[in-house]
Symmetry: C2
Subunit: 305 residues, 2 copies
């Protein structure tokens, strides 16, 4: 089954202790699609300026990503410039130029209105809600968000929660949104407001999947070198939703597997700048890493009493 | 098989956002023994002052912990007073009174010199080395340490590494000791200096077991309320070494299981002050939590290609 992703299509300039990259592919829709395209057909909806270097989108198109929903608007593309210090834990934003993204009003092409899997990347919750009015009867709607919207668009975000099946959110954002420092309570707070599933991402410390009746945890993969953390969360979401769409199976067991596919894609994403690593992956490489995750946590439990 | 633990036998006064406890059982040897005693016979070596309230040690003795190696010295017992803020991530030490502990020279009773499992709790590495001269042919020697010794006794600590089979260390200490921010590299740095196994504890984020050829990870248990984090690391070590001693099996598969028993004991430890929770546990409660850890990370991996 196919995936519709709505989000930013940006140009990132990133500096880490290990190097720098100028005007490379960035934005939630790009990073999500670069991971999800290994599993399922992906349709992107977003906006770019007339200055966007179209050749940078070619590797995604070559992987079958449909860009018919990416609008070209008069003006400059969304640009983000950031620096990571030695610990790589948080990006220091040096410059954000929204350009045409500041007037973005997602228009879902009629042919995509019936998309079975919908991922609402990190954009204004009002726009995320607007997208949901344009799609009909999706099997699964998932959303992401960020500190900025939690602060500035809280009522809209709470309204959005009531209309999505699943949210992916990082631990700091979950605490900020719910005002609960404990993540188990934070997840319950969110589930009480709509989503049946909550994924809390803890970066290098792994990710939780909470459902009404269970908790699953996938560790961060113990990489020896992390090159650039940008886009890890969207790559996670791409692997996660991509796997669900490819299997069409929303059972808890398959959701757990999806979290591991997401974690695998997130772990690849940080090995190079931009989507350089995720886009070039082969399916056997992905499966091998998922098996490594399995071995990483494998132990024999005592038999039930 | 039995376990010899050498460490502090203290009185803690702790304040958390959820309550306070005055002069309760504390110190690495006490917390270790409270966890390990559920699995194997434990012999404690340490020192207390003549003022130590002996009745506080009764629950440990009732669990069969042998205190014949705990010396009573003229003077005051080791006291530690601390406060945790709302996030419970780090203790703010308000007062440390070493008392008789400042002159502690561990003397291993002849009857314990042949102990098969030895845990060197967090004390001066010179004393830890001294203990090793008093034991004969142990099957496994493990040690713990802390930032204070890494800073003030670095050469002795490096010497100690060459004489232990395993070290348990938290992530910040591992980074401080090795000057490697990446934990995979930090673990390798340590293994290059002696230990065949390195356990890196990440508190609520779980624990890694590194060997020369593999990595295992056990998550932190997603507790809904954490009451007091004091002693979680020593309780982890107690469960870990206790399990190894009870099985006498040092295979990698059993070491993995031991990490989970350690994680289970650490997760219980934080549910109440002091050793109140760990000491009262029943074996079925422990096994049930280990099975919960198993379910927490369980997923079906794809078949090898």
């Amino acid at each position: 089954m196919s995936v519709l992703v709505v989000g930013s299509v940006a140009l990132d300039s990133v500096e880490t202790p290990f190097g720098k990259a100028e005007e490379v592919l960035g934005g939630s829709a790009n990073m999500f699609a670069s991971a999800a395209c290994h599993f399922a057909p992906v349709h992107m909806v977003g906006v770019i300026g007339t200055d966007y270097p179209m050749e940078k989108l070619e590797p995604l198109k070559a992987k079958g990503v449909d860009m018919s929903g990416v609008e070209v608007a008069e003006g400059e593309s969304f640009r983000w410039r950031a620096r990571y210090r030695h610990d790589l834990n948080s990006a220091e934003t040096l410059e954000t130029r929204l350009g045409v993204f500041s007037h973005f009003r997602p228009k879902i092409p009629a042919a995509l209105a019936g998309s079975p899997f919908v991922f609402l990347g990190n954009i204004d919750p009002r726009l995320q809600l607007d997208v949901l009015k344009q799609v009909t009867n999706p099997r699964l709607v998932a959303c992401d968000t960020m500190n900025f919207w939690i602060e500035s668009r809280r009522p809209d975000l709470i309204e959005l929660l009531n209309h999505v099946d699943l949210i992916t959110i990082n631990d700091a954002e979950a605490r900020q949104l719910t005002e609960e420092s404990n993540l188990v309570r934070a997840a319950r707070w969110i589930m009480d407001r709509g989503p049946k599933h909550v994924v809390i991402k803890k970066g290098e410390h792994g990710a939780f999947l909470f459902t009404g009746t269970s908790v699953f945890f996938a560790p961060g993969y113990p990489l020896e070198s992390v090159f650039d953390p940008t886009g890890a969360g969207d790559s996670f979401a791409g692997g996660f939703i991509g796997w669900l769409a490819s299997t069409g199976d929303l059972s808890e067991e398959n959701m757990r597997r999806a979290v591991v596919y997401g974690s695998a894609m997130g772990s690849f994403a940080v090995e190079k700048f931009s989507n350089y690593r995720t886009i070039e992956l082969t399916r056997p490489e992905i499966e091998a890493r998922v098996r490594e995750f399995h071995r990483l946590v494998a132990f024999e439990a005592p038999l039930p009493a």
